[in-house]
Symmetry: C2
Subunit: 203 residues, 2 copies
């Protein structure tokens, strides 16, 4: 089945490969601090696990394995595989008994966050998670200013619905300041998003 994003971009394998290229480039452009958002979140989640605060993991990158070679006496080698479109968000786990689920995205833009960064799959996954009583949000990073926002899933869904209705295709920074929550960067944990989750859901 082939379908398109609201912006007309094709949905599927080529898109995920270009996503991967962007990921690769990201690592370079982010070299001022030497860490990608993904790495920062991995370190943060490791800290949460080690401190007994929460069990949250990044899901592995989904890959369609086509060919595997089994050399004698050494590890199996995957010799042909393709990137698949993820059907969920990237991070999930458990915090204080509750299901936690989120996605992390970066943008080069200085003034707004383009909604095309999300796949339709992910939006409907977020919708489902909320319906089933899970905690859902996205972490958005502005590369130029290194500002990080936590935006609750319900607000993301409203902005998405506005776009589908013909409205703007991005979330302005002003809107993020109103509906989202700035996450301060610190030493340990790097991105303490659970502090905001605490304020929003456990206080």
């Amino acid at each position: 089945m082939e379908f398109h994003y609201p912006n007309g971009r094709k949905y599927g394998r080529p898109s995920s490969s270009s996503h991967f290229k962007n990921e690769a480039m990201k690592k370079h452009s982010y070299s001022n601090r030497g860490m990608t958002l993904e790495e920062d979140l991995n370190v943060t989640n490791e800290y949460y696990r080690e401190q007994g605060i929460a069990i949250i993991h990044k899901k592995p990158t989904p890959v369609q394995i086509v060919q595997v070679h089994y050399p004698k006496r050494s590890a199996a080698v995957i010799t042909e595989a393709y990137f698949k479109q993820p059907s969920t968000t990237d991070y999930n786990g458990v915090y204080k008994g509750k299901y936690i689920d989120f996605e992390a995205k970066e943008t080069q833009s200085e003034t707004s966050f383009p909604l095309r960064n999300f796949h339709e799959h992910q939006i409907s996954h977020i919708e489902q998670v909320l319906k089933h009583g899970g905690i859902s949000f996205v972490i958005i990073r502005f590369k130029s200013s290194d500002e990080l926002y936590l935006l609750e899933g319900c607000h993301l869904l409203s902005f998405w619905a506005r776009m589908v209705d013909g409205g703007r295709k991005s979330i302005s920074k002003k809107e993020l300041n109103q509906k989202g929550h700035l996450i301060p960067l610190q030493l340990a944990p790097r991105i303490d998003y659970l502090r905001i989750v605490d304020e929003l859901y456990f206080s």
Copy 2:
């Protein structure tokens, strides 16, 4: 870092590759019904999602990507990658607001379930999930009889501890009948494990 299972088997890449080989063989030996346990669970989880009952997904197989080729005008091809040891269990999601987490395993044995089917990583993950108030269990399938059991994480941890203390390296079928719960196979959903979760946690 290299370490060994209690049974002396090496832990790491070669072990995960042989795991994959077993997975491949499994698909053939299970051909009487034409479905593997994994496929049955995927169909079950799809049913749960479509019926609005729960949002549970299998995590992608973790793969270490070494080389990617980007042909012009077509999808990126992964040309070298290796299987990685999973650091968590395979399935997780949200049910009635609670975090659900489980692993599914099959055995050829007719009389007991060998504990070496689990990785130490998975055991400590199960322990952590329980500590954080999540629902954790394993689904065990006896291939010969096509019997399926749901065993709660706490019981699996006891059996594991007994082995570490020098006791038996498997769970006998009698023990599974006492501590576990038989899951009847049916048409839709195939493996209705949430019915047992309901009895255990929501009644």
